[in-house]
């Protein structure tokens, strides 16, 4: 059942900037079990897109994988030649880029763009491609009659569906979706997530879903990987990470989020401060400067991944005290800046 299908180990991805380089992803490890949806969550700049792009090896010009492995069905994606990697793209690993709905080419019809993938990448004949286009549109719930439309004739939500159709064109085993619903309003967002989950179940594919929104994770993911400043702060089943957050950052996120099911009088509590600069990260735990529970060791020693429950890890020196910290984290006063 929970056979591991993708295994990322100590992944390090850097960007060349000026004369030096910046380690945007610094020792990230996580697994994707076959047939599951894994949510990669964290705030802006924490390295989610960098991880997603490293997995597809479609990276920025100044980016390079500086360490680690990405074992996919027995092959290390970090070590594959560009040619072998290219053979995997679309057919085995498909990528839906961040703001995919704006990345469709405005001068070609949607059908033309689907055809490019089906015929050039997939080697399908004209008739087969035509049939597949219709199948794909049906799958994502757009009238087949609109295949000949141009991207600007679609709403944002429909363009996002087209992007999903494009990703599914050649029956990949793994789909990496970078913020697929972020710019959409709540109704469209929900409908796209339902669609994605239905297709994932129907086709038995695995999905890595990049998002900054923990409620998206709560709605659709089986597992959660919480990133903070280029590191993994916490990971485990969706249920465990949400109901028993064991890293102070995840505990804080929980209080910062308005919950329509919660009491009306609830007060939202921000996490004061901002993530550190990756160009010059602080030693020790990267969350320490914002953490209400930091102790001396946090400022100097990078915390290891502690297994708080089987399969549930938190990179925190105080992970052993998680239940007590969770209790304290509920109180607003815990998160108030001292000064």
């Amino acid at each position: 059942m929970t056979e591991t299908f993708l295994s990322v180990r100590d992944l390090k991805v850097s960007y060349r900037v000026g004369r030096g380089s910046l380690d945007a992803v610094d020792g990230v490890s996580f697994d994707v079990p076959r047939g599951s949806i894994v949510g990669l969550v964290g705030e802006s700049g924490c390295g989610k897109t960098t991880v997603a792009r490293a997995l597809t090896r479609v990276m920025a010009d100044n980016a390079f994988i500086s360490g680690g492995r990405m074992l996919f069905d027995g092959r290390d994606l970090a070590a594959l030649s560009e040619r072998d990697m290219n053979a995997l793209r679309w057919r085995e690993i498909a990528f839906i880029p961040q703001s995919a709905m704006n990345s469709l080419d405005p001068v070609y019809t949607v059908e033309y763009q689907l055809n490019e993938v089906l015929r050039l990448r997939g080697g399908l004949g004209r008739a087969q491609a035509r049939k597949r286009c219709e199948e794909l549109f049906e799958m994502v719930g757009i009238e087949v009659g609109r295949l000949r439309d141009y991207p600007h004739q679609f709403s944002g939500g429909m363009r996002q569906r087209v992007a999903i159709a494009l990703a599914l064109a050649l029956n990949p085993k793994l789909v990496i979706a970078d913020e697929p619903v972020t710019a959409l309003d709540v109704i469209v967002q929900r409908q796209i997530l339902d669609q994605l989950r239905d297709l994932q179940r129907q086709l038995g594919i695995s999905v890595i879903l990049v998002t900054h929104d923990i409620s998206v994770v709560a709605y659709i993911c089986d597992r959660t990987v919480v990133m903070y400043a280029g590191h993994v702060a916490e990971q485990g089943t969706m249920e465990a990470t949400l109901t028993q957050p064991s890293h102070p950052y995840s505990m804080g996120l929980r209080n910062a989020f308005p919950d329509l099911q919660g009491a009306a009088s609830g007060v939202l509590t921000p996490i004061e401060g901002a993530p550190p600069s990756l160009a010059d990260p602080p030693p020790g735990c990267r969350f320490a400067p914002r953490c209400p529970f930091s102790i001396e060791v946090c400022a100097s020693v990078t915390p290891p991944q502690v297994e708080v429950e089987p399969g549930h890890f938190a990179a925190c020196h105080r992970a052993g005290e998680a239940p007590a910290l969770r209790e304290r984290a509920r109180h607003v006063s815990t998160w108030m800046a001292e000064a």
């Binding site: 802006s44 939500g157 099911q261």
Partner: protein, 330 residues
């Protein structure tokens, strides 16, 4: 919770049958038989009491921003009237108009779009003071006060920085400070936190609530997310295709939405809870073409309850207990 509004009886705004119709496309779309008018705001009426905060809720394109722009007189209504303090806004000119501009302000969605990247924070905040003719000598103190008001700690350290040298949350506070620096009575906040990370969003929302209460501001808060609206507004107006579907206390709408569209909006709000309903939303897929809204009730082609009358008769906004609803079921 917030103190009671300082209600003198007379509303700050009275909006009567306001319309904002945009002409879109050219002769070509007219030839194709497509009506070339988008009714961004179409016969909207409500009053805004002094000190009240109202959430404008609805999906993309329903006319929230257009309504906000009408209130701020950034757009001229194509029909109906908007009274501010009893005076018709469209008649304001000269000095009265300048005064109106100072008393009403807009807080933008994306803080990075809202400011000139080549201006320092000091210059960004001095601009409205200059426009309002505040003497130079008084600028620095007003600027620092405004930044303290939005709880930017040690404001002096930011004055000579440029926007890109601030975080999103810090810059959104600067944008808020700029809107507040002339001490307006009324603000429209158009999705002010949608571009911010969750961890900083809460801080900005708290500042917004706090400043509003302290200054007794009247506010319109625009969003498509009821969870955010609920956090700042005791009253919510649900819009769909330029029309008001439901208007009432936010808590009532959260717990028992009446209009079929409000029901879908409430059900769609994402919650950070592993145990939640995955039932399909009670709404048809795909927003209609705003140039060709359905006859009768504009929501009927997506409504799970639509019946004959919905196609032939436009439902009026009628009283239903604590609220008003525009639906033939009520």
């Amino acid at each position: 919770m917030r103190p009671p509004a300082t209600d003198t009886g007379e509303p700050l705004f009275s909006i009567r049958e306001a319309r904002l119709h945009y002409r879109v496309g050219g002769a070509l779309s007219a030839l194709r038989g497509r009506s070339s008018v988008v009714k961004a705001v179409d016969g909207v009426s409500f009053a805004i009491a002094r000190g009240e905060s109202i959430g404008l809720l609805g999906e993309s394109g329903c006319g929230k921003t257009s309504m906000g722009r009408l209130l701020l007189k950034l757009e001229k209504p194509t029909g109906g009237e908007i009274l501010f303090d009893g005076e018709d806004v469209s008649r304001l000119k000269g000095k009265a108009l300048r005064r109106y501009r100072a008393r009403t302000q807009l807080i933008f969605q994306n803080p990075f779009d809202a400011v000139n990247p080549r201006f320092t924070i000091r210059a960004i905040l001095a601009e409205p003071l200059e426009n309002a003719g505040v003497p130079r000598a008084g600028h620095e103190a007003r600027i620092v006060d405004a930044l303290e008001l939005v709880r930017l700690p040690q404001p002096a350290q930011y004055l000579d920085r440029y926007p890109h040298q601030l975080s999103g949350g810090q810059l959104q506070r600067v944008v808020m400070a700029r809107a507040l620096i002339l001490q307006p009575e009324f603000v429209v906040a158009d999705e002010p936190v949608s571009m911010l990370d969750v961890s900083v969003r809460a801080g900005v929302l708290n500042v917004f609530r706090d400043v509003r209460d302290r200054l007794g501001l009247t506010a319109i808060y625009i969003s498509h997310d009821l969870a955010l609206v609920r956090y700042v507004c005791e009253r919510t107006i649900v819009m769909y295709l330029g029309k008001v579907m439901e208007d009432g206390p936010t808590e009532d709408i959260v717990h028992e939405p009446l209009h079929p569209y409000s029901k879908a909006l409430v059900a769609a709000v994402p919650v950070p809870n592993p145990h939640q309903s995955h039932d399909p939303l009670p709404i048809g897929r795909g927003a209609p073409d705003p140039r060709n809204p359905p006859s009768g009730c504009v929501f009927r082609d997506r409504c799970p309850h639509a019946f004959d009358r919905c196609a032939s008769e436009v439902p009026a906004l009628r009283d239903a207990g604590t609220r008003q609803v525009a639906c033939h079921l009520f």
